[in-house]
Symmetry: none
Subunit: 203 residues, 4 copies
DNA sequence: TATGAATGAGTATTCATTCAT
DNA sequence: TATGAATGAATACTCATTCAT
């Protein structure tokens, strides 16, 4: 019989994680102290430690939220007829997924942390695994539509490169390069398909 | 008439920056204190502050070293006949450039810092700019060889996506995914060229 | 709705300021570190920084306490009949005011700091201003009793010299010269009034 | 057979002491580091430590220079006919003695140090002793001229109060109060002699 | 004598975490 | 559960002094 409802608990945890992410976005994890989380969340230090056992513990939940895969996005691409092309899918991923829109700064910081923090790395690996599954499903549909002889095999092989396109976009934009989803789609078009993907005026 | 030679000065600074990078690789910047830099470099705190004015100042030089573009790598690709294909070039980049081999962990951490540290972001932007120039030169040569009508234009458009392939590889491997340069080349092949890019045995 | 009462807060601040003053008296400010304040106050470093934002901030409160004018002392002199003479008042000031008794060492150090620290100088200037007011009130009463034609004017003119008598006593005794309040009164007597103020045996 | 002439040695020491005093005047001793002395003196750290064994050692010489009594000043007063009055002598002391003109800031800082540094206190005590001697000689001449029955005795008694007048002036002006020698003379006049000491126009 | 790079104990301050209320 | 005052180890950095050249 919990003293506080699960709902209330989740609400409070969300405030805490949200406060951490806000601060990460603004000043970076290195400069984010518990004092920041305390003042931004509106909770007291004691209250926070009632929900999380340490700062790292909060960070883990923050990482989960940010890299959280939301693999459903791929479902709609697979279900479309015709299946949209990879450049188009890349454009939609980087313009729709929260991770690429509002959280790209925190996301890149979390990848940085993952290089030396095994718990965060595990979250990252899991997330990439899930995304990879979605990407493979989509790519299989696309390669099948293109008449490929072994679309499942090709999709499995191609997935890391496909994900890389989205990840590279994140790096480039997170550090401030002026790269719009639409422009990036053209980049992928130009690299993969030749200029035929571009409209007349853009050629 | 400096009492210590420029050479000696560069040597000492290299020790300091090296110590920081070693520690970043092992425990991450967040857990790297000046005490680590002091003990790993073999210099005293006072000596270090004779060369650098702050920890951040050291970090800046470390970032410069790690993201330092070494754009020359592209020259050999441009000069080859025939010009190697993008998948091959990607493979060689990620297997030859130190940033992708020994420093990928520090590199990813630096991208994370760049999201909130303008001075580091500037270094990153400059580095991507230089790399971009090399990539464009290479891509132009490649597209020309492929008979493209406007290879310069196409190369310029495609460059961000091309760089993204290398950056995504870095993210995936830095967090521990088992992805070899050779396997990654096949991924790019599969995405770009279809299965015909794979060798017989692998089909 | 403060969690700690104003009273408790004042108590803790007094402990901190007291610790600083104790150490100043014993080893001087130059040799007084936060470690001294921490150990003498019985509070932890963290607790101290909860009350004061910096060592200088503590010093400011210490200066306020030490130079704090306590101008009331002059009131009783003004109200007496007959009004006591300047030598007598000087004697009573230097023997009654805490600044001249227990804090003369810290006081002199604070004057030293005031020469280059504007915030401390401001405290000193204010304190001298208040003391000056008291001194003028007393001197006016005295000169009036002495039948002076324009006692207010004369009191205003004379105040700096009158204060100087107390300040000079402080310098001479703070560095260890053996000068008692009683003996100093005789010095002032001898300078001002001739030897008539002295008892037979002392002449 | 000294390697460097005594003259050269004195010259170098003067540079060092001068550098310390300059810095004390500008930023205070607390903020004066050996680095300041090194850069202001134009000598290297090694060279300085060839002349002085420690920072405190330099400070001692600086204190000697600043409090150095220059008791000769009193000789001229004694020799004058008529002997000038105490208010006039006070005015001349505070307007002529370097300690009261250019060095009053350093002087007050040194008094502050003397409260806890016995070596500096000894210099201060000696200096006051010498000054006291001069003051007594002058006061004796003055009291004799005034027809006092026991001028030597009275001078001895009055000396501490007489010195205090100069010391108090130093405190008041060193912290920035606007007090000119001429105005201070009037203060002493008003206290000692009554308004008749003031010139016609000022009454 | 003079140099200035190097030393390392010492500095003020921070901050994740605890616990009496 | 919630509060926020208190803790104290850890932090980045300074600076008087030394010593090989």
């Amino acid at each position: 019989m919990p003293r506080i409802s699960e709902e209330r608990k989740a609400e409070q945890k969300a405030k805490i994680v949200g406060a951490l992410l806000d601060s990460m976005r603004e000043k970076g994890i290195a400069d984010t102290s518990m004092a920041d989380v305390i003042s931004r969340s509106g909770l007291s230090s004691g209250a926070i430690y009632g929900y999380y056992s340490s700062k790292d513990d909060i960070l883990l939940d923050a990482a989960r939220e940010v890299v959280g895969s939301r693999v459903e996005v791929f479902d709609s691409f697979v279900a479309s007829a015709p299946v949209p092309s990879p450049p188009e899918v890349v454009e939609r991923l980087v313009s729709d997924l929260p991770a690429f829109v509002v959280e790209k700064r925190s996301l890149l910081q979390i990848w940085g942390l993952a290089t030396t923090n095994p718990a965060i790395a595990a979250i990252g690996v899991e997330s990439i695994g899930t995304l990879s599954g979605g990407a493979r499903a989509y790519l299989e549909a696309w390669f099948r539509q293109e008449g490929d002889a072994d679309p499942a095999r090709r999709a499995e092989l191609a997935a890391p490169a496909f994900l890389a396109l989205a990840q590279g976009y994140m790096i480039q934009t997170a550090i401030g390069l002026p790269l719009e989803p639409r422009g990036y789609r053209k980049a992928v078009d130009a690299l993969f398909l030749g200029l035929q993907g571009l409209t007349e005026g853009e050629r």
